[in-house]
Subunit: 588 residues, 2 copies
């Protein structure tokens, strides 16, 4: 037996007991004739004590130990004279009578503490040491407990967890698939699922009624920061539901896990249409922890000879309250430069300050008299002491840029409570999204999303504007400006599904060869159904107030999709390639 | 709202309520002026009733419905005159006032009942209809509930569920890997994990203490019946444990899930060494639901001029009690032919019958007098009325063949209680397994398995017999003759791991390039650790008394690794291949 207790377990009631503990040597202090060791495991820390006077050999052995050595000790629990109220075992210590060194540690390549001196690459390479840091232990445990809480709720709601295959079929729609060559079927490939979408719909056709799965999904994308080629979804589907049933069920799930994990009671789940989200926040995932909305200045500011505005499709503004006197010329120049960064991409920024001394200062002061500018403030609900920022240009692009500035102002001026959670349903997404480059429609959510019943007729139009105006029963759950989940009510009628594929430029043959099994399933009694998928990694990050998902993943990959620790991907044997009927060719 | 209740919900207390139900039309009966419909969903069946006299139009509409049509009805719950005690809703029926047809069904390609007329291929193609059959609904639900029960126990035991990566690195050891070409790293490949072995060991080094995961694993094998290229493991690892700790913990898990799922109290978990299992049962996964053991006749039968026995390395027998008079010459010929089938591969079968009239009948009667044969029976604990079957040849092979005959005798003579569960730990597996073909050792379990402490010294030998005699702390959990799980205590010392790799014919460079990260981890304070992995599909099958795992998997693949429904694997676009720097070549 390696231990009688773990390192977070001993309390006053154990005083006088003989115990065996095992763990890592976290810290060591020599103090007079005594040596103190903090022995650490996942559960906590216990103080060990050695005495030169009573057992010199043992105390000397303890002094030989290095950080991260793994030891087993035998000893007696006694009351601690110098109690430590910060840790649960702080009332006791263990007087050691025997040490067994189980495993020695070399000097770790970085310090194993929350504030480590290790850089990203080094910590990825020694991820097993990085994972010993308390903050990562905490986050990995959080994720484990969160999945338990999710499963508890889903079971209460009669969802079955059913596994779907990982080796499936490649489809051209959506992101790029990872593929897996089949040895038994030479020249043919499986694909790894981007989501179990068609399978979960088939579960509904199969009468499973309520399905969920916490499941790995895969996307072979050019990796941006904080994207992983493999990620985990909480994937859900329900039969005999309208959109409202889905929203209620998953509002319930969200409330449940925030309560179980954080003892947090979420406020009302507000709802906003996609159109309003874009119009008011310049984003389909608005951060509603602060109120600032985009104000439409297109009409008010035109016709004063300022060409940039006069020629703009859209002019929008943000009202920053109470900061007029804080912004110097230098500040204004700096924030103008900020919006001109490639990541934001604005051409420029117009400002107007209504200073507390009642003067107006504006970058467009020569075109607009003070009283006109004051009328802008009034229209925006502003007053003396406020600033207006204005941007102009093509409608959609400008709103996005203003939305980005809005978030930056929120951060800079600490308008966002760090402890608030603001859940929001974004609803009524468009069914189709026009792509200028390829001059065709793509599915905004995915090709299985149902249009709103009242918009089905519009699918017969060949007018692009009409088609763009089709709304879908599609919805996203956004919390604090992060997209946590998204889903839709699905098509369950073969003819409607064929119609939708046609709008998405599938030939009937392509539709049949790729999704024939699904359309065929719709002919054998398919119930109305819909669902949602949550990004588990993102949900963890939002709940714990982190911006990166990486530290909720035990072994993440870097931005080139590499696992630095195991050095993957890697070359494989010629023999393996031959078995797979494959040859590697140089890129032309 | 599609429904106020599901189809398994209504009871006497609902009589008089107005309800909305949705589901599939399972059966329809016209009876006098009435029509009865069984409406089905996952939760049950509710009887609907229509009356030609009170609403002719509605009743006619009902009579138009086809099997598997999806409908929504409004109606009133009333007491049923002709109660059906076999179903929970059997006390009530619903008088329908409105039908909405949600989705029509064509005639299904096979009957959707437990005893279906659909063949394997057809049911695989229409798996979404196959899954509507009650027996499959039941098995898929069982699996879902079983995973919940497993997670409940593991949480109680402080195991964390942590996900490991699916895109890892190919290693030549063990079965063939599925590989995934990396587009961002041309010419390089990920591999899909055969198990998360190294990652779970790294979790122990990382101080996670207790890890588990219900996880998909992958093996690119030539598929035998009832093997799947992707399968699910309950994968577990614990730090600071000896073998006994692991066995206790997972005996606990097994008892827990049998109790929760089947209300079954398992008998004592017997233990047998690998050597004894082979010696007594000719199998490393003996079915101990019946006692019949292999009896060693090597010495007693030699020297009577029967050349086959005189030249054999080993002669073993089975005692079949009380059946001597049942076996005719024809029966004996039949069972002899049976053991000569290629699947068993025996050269022949010797028998001796001690008939109830005290005569002896034996295929080797001319070499052995009756009293000698009677002495065999006595040595075997047999008596008048029994049969002895004897087989001879090379030791290991013969024991395996006798073991196969043993199982067949158990089946034929119904020696196995169909409701019994007999758990058994097989322990003390050899560390190494000699392969005649390649003239080298392979790891019996895997290369990370620890030899027993007292056998470590033997690893320095270059005598094959000495090396073969090394025992490992490796164990299998066998229930009713099926291997449910297997595991081992692991090496956690770099030098010992290097030694083991060397015995397995890894060059130091190969060991370093493939498993350097793990050996490096052992240098930074690795705790002693060990674990186990359970086959979830197999566990389901054994618990439900089934021999095939396939119907516990929602979308299984056939023996060529194909998903017939979605038609995968399949060819991919030239463009995709080019992006991956690959070309398909003809097999030479």
């Amino acid at each position: 037996m390696y231990r009688s207790h773990h390192c977070g377990q001993l309390r006053s009631k154990n005083i006088g007991e003989r115990v065996v503990l095992s763990g890592w040597m976290a810290t060591k202090r020599d103090f007079g004739g005594m040596t103190f060791i903090d022995l650490r495991d996942r559960y906590g820390i216990t103080q060990l004590i050695f005495n030169m006077e009573t057992d010199e050999a043992l105390c000397l052995a303890a002094r030989q130990l290095h950080r991260e050595d793994v030891i087993q000790i035998h000893g007696d629990v006694r009351e601690r004279s110098n109690k430590n109220p910060d840790i649960p075992t702080g009332d006791v210590e263990v007087v050691v009578s025997e040490i067994n060194v189980l495993s020695r540690s070399k000097l770790p390549p970085f310090t194993i503490e929350n504030d480590t001196d290790g850089g990203d690459e080094l910590r990825m390479k020694y991820r097993y040491l990085d994972l010993r840091r308390p903050v990562l232990q905490e986050q990995i445990q959080f994720r484990s407990k969160l999945t338990l809480a999710i499963r508890k709720y889903m079971d209460q709601q009669q969802f079955l967890e059913i596994e779907t295959p990982v080796l499936i079929k490649s489809t051209p729609e959506g992101a790029r698939d990872f593929v897996v060559p089949s040895r038994l079927n030479p020249g043919q490939f499986y694909a790894l699922p981007q989501s179990p979408q068609t399978f979960k719909q088939l579960f509904m056709v199969a009468g499973m009624d309520r399905y969920f799965q916490i499941v790995k999904c895969f996307r072979d994308e050019d990796l941006r920061a904080d994207r992983q080629p493999e990620f985990t979804q909480v994937d859900c589907e329900m039969a005999f539901v309208h959109q409202e049933d889905v929203l209620q069920t998953f509002e319930g799930l969200t409330r449940f896990v925030f309560r179980e994990m954080l003892s947090a009671e979420l406020p009302e789940f507000q709802r906003i249409t996609y159109d309003d989200a874009i119009r008011l926040y310049g984003s389909d995932k608005p951060d509603t922890r602060f109120d600032m909305q985009i104000i439409d200045f297109t009409d008010p500011v035109k016709g004063h000879g300022f060409k940039v505005f006069d020629q703009a499709e859209f002019i929008g503004g943000l009202l920053l309250e109470g900061k007029a006197d804080e912004y110097s010329n230098k500040n204004m120049k700096e924030i103008t430069t900020w919006v001109q960064r490639p990541q934001v991409g604005a051409k420029g920024l117009v400002y107007a300050q209504w200073k507390n001394d009642d003067t107006i200062k504006s970058s467009v002061g020569k075109f607009y008299p003070d009283d006109v500018i004051k009328s802008w403030f009034e229209a925006a609900g502003g007053q003396k002491g406020d600033i207006l920022f204005l941007m102009s240009g093509e409608d959609a692009l400008t709103r996005t840029q203003i939305g980005t500035l809005r978030l930056e102002l929120g951060r800079r001026h600490e308008l966002i409570s760090p402890t608030a959670f603001k859940p929001l349903w974004v609803v009524d997404f468009p069914l189709l999204e026009w792509d200028e480059e390829t001059q065709r429609f793509y599915a905004m959510h995915h090709p299985f999303t149902a249009p709103k019943t009242e918009d089905i007729e519009k699918m017969n139009s060949d007018d692009r504007k009409v088609l763009e105006s089709i709304r879908a029963d599609a919805y996203d759950l956004v919390i604090n400006g992060a997209e946590i989940g998204g889903g839709s009510i699905r098509i369950y009628d073969r003819a409607l599904q064929e119609k939708n594929f046609a709008l998405l430029q599938f030939t009937p043959e392509e539709a049949e060869s790729q999704f024939g099994f699904l359309m065929s399933a719709f002919e054998y009694g398919a119930p109305p159904h819909g669902g949602i998928a949550f990004g588990l990694d993102r949900l963890c990050a939002v709940m714990k107030g982190k911006t990166s998902i990486r530290d909720f993943i035990a072994f993440p990959k870097n931005n080139m999709g590499r696992d630095i620790m195991i050095d993957a991907p890697a070359k494989i044997d010629e023999e393996q390639l031959k078995d797979l009927s494959l040859r590697v060719v140089k890129k032309s």
